[in-house]
């Protein structure tokens, strides 16, 4: 493949404009992926700084840098930003947009303009959320779960903030529709479903959850807004409404949403492990099908968030049992990944190290999930720091880690530049240390009885709280360090080759960065997705 082609998607335009408008009006899935990348990264950093501030408040008992109300709004904002603006759209909207079409041999997604629209819808949602902070009434302070009845009683700007979440959900639905149609309609000749890379499978399963679960949160949010505006009574216990019903509706979305967050990450892991083990994935079908199984069973476990809120005993043990069952397909994946590495020729490059970190952190998160899924133990640790630690291990340790893993894996392809490998290896280690220092103490604190969402605590919690705060400095510092060396790589990085890691999925067959149309000729697929015997032919290309 001639690397002399100066033209690549970064310099080409899908419209008649050059410069900024060629980005803002683009219909190129790669550029839209980058638009998402910049905006999502921005909100992630904002969320991280808010987290840092909360940890600073918690460095000592009593009031340290902020009062209780500020703390309330901060944990709400942190939760809303991290969930709705970072982790839910994160991997699908950035890497899904960029690589899903390429990996199935398509020139773009099925509805390119709809794709651009969903970015604008995302931005509108984000801006509404920001605006709600500064309007009279003050920022929302309900927690990211917006539980009734407090959310209809508080005078803060709940309506606008949750309307923002509604809008963001709409963006998520549009992306989902786009990806499903793309996978069904635009696969290259020979690309059967069982030749699709596992990242595509995962994004596909995610897209289904996005369109099935998101409308439920949409209507729930609308009902809360209507309740606040008109007092119709649907959620107002004083008028006969049922707060528990709200919780059900909320979690019918928000539990499946955790699979929206984690499945794409698992897809990325299934890409990285074969590439750096030079071995085809073990149990391809089992991994693909387990994504669908997770997507399906994931619908039936929502009430495990409500073991203490009032449900029949039968409902409780059924939901507990189902929760345990959903651990099975996740286990299938972990074992298949490990089995893939067996007798592989492992090359511990940065993306692979991130994946190792992921497997460790996510396993802790997953196993402590079982502690929360068991009725007896959940009664003890419900609404404590144990829960906070658990979800940070799965969401941040899981998806968040893979966000960085995916970035390290695909950065050379996306920008055609290579980053500093040595620095990035150091970053993985620092991240891992900071992460565990920040969150592991929270398991112990939770077990000792430290409730979540408190700006103050008893003196006996102080040592572990301090460790946690120091951990947050290391972690957030590392994140900025990572952003720093990526920016450096963009400006001064060495040119990346078209296949720096020796991957074999379609994106590694095309130049880095790709041309706007991705492929000069649409390829015909003959190989299985992780067939490394192709590598020799590819070298000759």
């Amino acid at each position: 493949m001639a690397n002399t082609i100066a033209e690549n998607y970064l310099h080409q335009s899908t419209n008649k404009y050059k410069g900024i408008l060629s980005w803002l009006l683009t219909t190129d899935h790669k550029k839209i992926g980058l638009l998402y990348f910049v905006s999502i990264l921005f909100f992630f950093l904002v969320g991280a700084i808010i987290g840092l501030l909360m940890r600073l408040e918690l460095i000592a008992p009593g009031r340290t840098i902020m009062g209780p109300q500020t703390y309330n709004t901060l944990f709400t904002l942190h939760g809303v930003i991290m969930i709705f603006l970072f982790i839910v759209p994160g991997l699908p909207a950035i890497f899904g947009n960029f690589f899903l079409p390429i990996q199935i041999g398509a020139r773009d997604v099925a509805f390119p303009r709809l794709n651009l629209l969903s970015w604008y819808v995302y931005m509108v949602g984000a801006i509404l959320a920001l605006v709600s902070l500064f309007l009279p009434g003050g920022p929302i302070d309900t927690g990211w779960t917006f539980y009734i009845p407090y959310s209809i009683r508080t005078n803060t700007n709940v309506s606008l903030a949750i309307f923002a979440a509604f809008v963001l959900g709409f963006s998520s639905i549009l992306t989902g529709i786009n990806f499903i149609t793309t996978v069904h309609r635009l696969r290259a000749p020979g690309m059967t479903f069982f030749k699709m890379p596992l990242f595509v499978w995962a994004t596909y399963a995610t897209a289904w959850i996005q369109i099935i679960a998101t409308p439920v949160i949409g209507i729930t949010i609308l009902l809360v807004i209507i309740e606040r505006a008109f007092g119709v009574g649907i959620f107002d216990p004083a008028l006969g409404g049922d707060p528990i019903l709200y919780q059900h509706l909320f979690w019918i979305y928000s539990h499946p949403a955790v699979y929206i967050m984690i499945l794409p990450a698992m897809g990325v892991v299934s890409e990285i492990i074969p590439t750096f083990s030079r071995r085809t994935i073990f149990g391809y079908k089992a991994i693909a099908m387990s994504s669908l199984a997770i997507a399906f069973i994931g619908y039936l476990v929502w009430a495990h968030h409500m073991f203490t809120s009032g449900m029949s005993d039968t409902a409780r043990w059924v939901f507990s049992l189902l929760t345990f069952i959903v651990a099975l397909p996740s286990g299938v994946k972990i074992f298949n990944w490990v089995a893939t590495m067996y007798k592989g020729s492992i090359d511990p490059q940065p993306p692979f190290l991130w994946v190792m970190s992921f497997i460790f952190l996510f396993s802790i998160g997953g196993l402590t999930g079982l502690v929360l899924g068991s009725l007896a133990t959940d009664i003890h640790v419900h609404d404590t720091y144990f829960v906070v630690a658990h979800f940070h291990y799965v969401m941040f340790g899981g998806t968040g880690t893979i966000f960085f893993g995916a970035l390290h894996y695909w950065f050379p392809k996306m920008f055609g530049k290579m980053y500093n490998i040595k620095l990035s290896k150091i970053a993985v280690a620092l991240f891992f240390i900071g992460f565990n220092m920040l969150y592991f103490p929270k398991f112990i604190l939770g077990y000792m009885g430290m409730p979540r969402r408190y700006y103050d605590y008893l003196p006996q919690f102080e040592p572990l709280q301090k460790v946690s705060t120091v951990g947050s400095w290391i972690l957030v510092g590392t994140i900025f360090f990572i952003v720093g060396y990526f920016i450096h790589a963009l400006i001064k990085g060495k040119k990346a080759t078209s296949n720096p890691w020796g991957g074999v999925t379609l994106e590694w067959h095309i130049p880095s960065p790709p041309i706007q149309e991705n492929f000069e000729v649409i390829p015909t697929i003959t190989h299985k997705p992780y067939d490394f015997s192709q590598l020799k032919e590819m070298k000759n290309e």
Binding site: G218, V232, L249
Partner: protein, 208 residues
């Protein structure tokens, strides 16, 4: 937005009617789920307040409800006919049928307006004194009534706007007998609006 006659390499036009329809079906699926959430809420509250729901329903005007059902069903028919017309290359008839759909939709909304305003005149609206004096079950019934038919009405309005735009596009030959997937998709949307009403109607007007 792209100028469609400027077909350059960067600007390759990709057309896939099957894909477009698939996308629309997926979208309708999300709409069904959105209303599904509401139907779930309705089911729970009806189960908890069976007697009160019956009593409250007695006060709704079944006549107007029935009329509106007939109107909406007919409008679904006219949309279908409009598609059939364009398939038979009859642009004029297609526009006529779309106009009748719009007219019927307007009639639906006018009826709705009169229905709601009579209720308002009787002091039955969310937060009103009369309503708050009633038992909780009736408050919930009316709460659901306003929210669900209101949300449906909103969909009728959006549908009208879409059909209007489609009509303009037929006039301007943007939608033609061999490129009418947009009309089909709007028709699908309109059928959904109709379908949801078919469920709302018995739940509020007929179970008395």
């Amino acid at each position: 937005m792209n100028n469609s006659h400027e077909v350059t390499l960067e600007n390759h036009v990709h057309r896939d009617d099957v894909g477009a329809r698939m996308g629309m079906w997926l979208f309708l699926f999300t709409e069904v789920l959105l209303f599904g959430g509401m139907f779930l809420v309705y089911a729970v509250y009806r189960f908890q307040n069976q007697e009160q729901f019956k009593l409250a329903a007695l006060e709704l005007n079944t006549g107007i409800g029935t009329l509106n059902t007939i109107i909406l069903l007919t409008s679904s028919l006219t949309v279908a006919l409009s598609i059939a017309a364009i398939q038979n290359k009859n642009k004029f008839l297609s526009i006529v049928f779309l106009n009748s759909t719009l007219l019927l939709a307007l009639m639906f909304m006018v009826n709705k307006y009169f229905e709601w305003s009579t209720k308002f005149a009787h002091g039955i609206y969310p937060g009103s004194k009369e309503l708050l004096e009633k038992p909780n079950g009736q408050i919930l019934f009316y709460g659901l009534y306003y929210v669900m038919t209101g949300l449906h009405g909103l969909h009728v309005l959006i549908g009208m706007i879409i059909l209007y735009i489609i009509k303009r596009q037929i006039k301007k030959d943007i939608i033609t007998p061999d490129k009418y997937v947009k009309l089909e998709n709007s028709g699908l949307y309109w059928h959904l609006v109709d379908l949801i009403w078919i469920f709302l109607f018995p739940l509020f007007y007929l179970i008395q």
